[in-house]
């Protein structure tokens, strides 16, 4: 095989916390430009899976490959490399609280990428303007709304030119009226062909963006397929049942 088909391959990941087995042999593949959506009940292991993919949490076993090349998870250098290539967006934003929006975006460019300040500022300005925050660059996280924080977090991840973006319920911590601004940024990313794995319960993101939906429960991917296959009219899948309950809860139709 000369040209790897998959940008990212995750093979049989296992993860336990003590006696509590969270991931039971999870495998998935991701093609360039593909968007996969992870759904499933809370506690099913979605966050753990995403954190294992860029090794914020070390998996107990399993392999991760990019472009067909396995990452040596024991090697720190390889890990740091992997994380630079795989961006991550968190439910709780995780912006650096002591830095302005601008410096939140520049710090990794300067310290990890070793860009000089001018170039880093220029790049950060570009990314912040892309998410509609060109006028908020001097504000600190405490002075931003949740939606603005999440957009800074997206700008921060994109400034590192990730090949894959992992999003862990990017809109779940937001007030309902702020969800829209983050969704439109994510949709714009999708339109540009960004490769993503996203855990979300936002029906509009699932139906509109996902090429594949993975339904995850008890640490296992129980079902997977296109939104049509899993969520089409009259489908009796567990995914469908789960989404119906979601819609009932927040009154959002698909």
């Amino acid at each position: 095989m000369t040209e790897a088909k998959f940008i990212l391959e995750v093979d049989t990941l296992n993860k336990s916390y003590g006696d509590n087995t969270i991931l039971k042999g999870v495998s998935l593949t991701l093609e360039e430009g593909e968007i996969k959506v992870l759904i499933g009940p809370s506690g099913g292991g979605k966050s753990t899976l995403l954190q294992c993919i860029n090794c914020l949490v070390a998996p107990d076993s399993g392999t991760i490959s990019m472009h067909g090349k396995e990452i040596n998870l024991k090697n720190k250098k390889d890990l740091y490399q992997l994380r630079q290539r795989v961006g991550m967006i968190f439910q709780e934003f995780n912006l650096f609280d002591h830095l302005t929006a601008l410096d939140n975006v520049t710090i990794a460019l300067r310290k990890v990428r070793r860009m000089d300040k001018g170039a880093a500022n220029k790049r950060a300005m570009f990314e912040l303007e892309q998410v509609g925050l060109g006028d908020k660059i001097e504000l600190y996280p405490a002075q931003l709304s949740g939606g603005q924080k999440q957009r800074v977090a997206i700008a921060r991840a994109l400034a590192m030119d990730p090949e894959v973006l992992l999003l862990d319920e990017p809109t779940s911590a937001l007030d309902p009226e702020l969800v829209g601004e983050v969704i439109s940024v994510i949709k714009a990313l999708a339109a540009k062909g960004m490769t993503m794995i996203m855990a979300t319960h936002q029906i509009s993101l699932i139906a509109g963006l996902a090429r594949n939906v993975l339904f995850m429960e008890n640490g296992i991917i129980q079902e997977q397929g296109s939104p049509k296959e899993l969520l089409g009219a009259g489908k009796k899948t567990r995914t469908q049942g789960f989404c119906d309950r979601l819609s009932d809860l927040d009154g959002e139709g698909s």
């Binding site: 954190q51 994380r83 630079q84 650096f96 609280d97 990794a108 990890v112 600190y140 996280p141 921060r156």
Partner: protein, 223 residues
């Protein structure tokens, strides 16, 4: 207005003493803060043996009276062939003792930083050292500054113990004059005023540093 010989002697002595005191306090405070940050970070993030070593250091210096530490540094170390001048013995003792206390404040602040801040940095490809140095310490510093400032205020006052190892600072100079003239009340009230001035200056400087480090979302409101 002509001062009486007593007051002339007193002021001359105290002015000499206060210079020595400042010479003790500044390096001790800076050294204490540096040791505190290093020891606090190692006690929090270091490998287990290093953590244990750091804990032992803090326990030892927080658990024994400073006077004893100074005695050992000045009168004890010569038995091992290490001779420290009174000044060096005092500064070493103050730094080590202050560093032990500072490391407690630093450690508490480091532990209060949420996991998400590590994740945020690690996810961008920061090494562990970069994460600690560029994200955790700057935030912890802002949380620790109140406690650390307080420790520096204490240090100013316990710097008076230097005269016990014959380093003639403010209290030592005052004591000499007091015994010479047998006017203890006036002398020590005057010495007290000098310390009050030193502490006031330190508070002013600390306030400035706090303002300079101020970032919305950190600071007094949050306790």
């Amino acid at each position: 207005m002509e001062l009486s010989p007593f007051y002339q002697d007193l002021l001359t002595a105290l002015n000499t003493g206060v210079i020595t005191s400042i010479g003790l306090i500044i390096p001790s405070a800076l050294g204490g803060v540096c040791i505190g940050i290093a020891a606090g970070a190692l006690r929090t993030f270091g490998p287990k043996p290093v953590r244990k070593l750091g804990d032992a250091y803090a326990a030892l210096f927080r658990g024994t009276p400073l006077v004893i530490q100074l005695f050992i540094l000045y009168y004890g170390l010569p038995n091992l062939g290490i001779y420290l001048s009174p000044y060096a013995a005092a500064v070493t003792g103050f730094m080590l003792c202050s560093g032990a206390y500072q490391s407690e404040y630093v450690r508490g602040a480091l532990l209060s930083i949420q996991r998400g801040q590590y994740y945020g940095a690690q996810a961008l490809g920061f090494t562990t050292f970069q994460t600690v140095f560029w994200v955790i310490i700057p935030q912890a510093m802002r949380r620790a500054i109140h406690g650390c400032g307080n420790e520096i205020i204490y240090l100013i006052k316990y710097s008076s113990l230097a005269y016990i190892v014959t380093c003639m600072e403010l209290t030592g100079e005052g004591n000499t004059i007091a015994s010479e003239y047998f006017r203890f009340t006036e002398v020590f009230m005057m010495v007290g005023v000098y310390y009050l001035l030193l502490v006031s200056c330190a508070m002013l400087i600390l306030k400035r540093i706090e303002q300079w480090l101020h970032v919305p979302g950190f600071g007094h409101q949050e306790g």
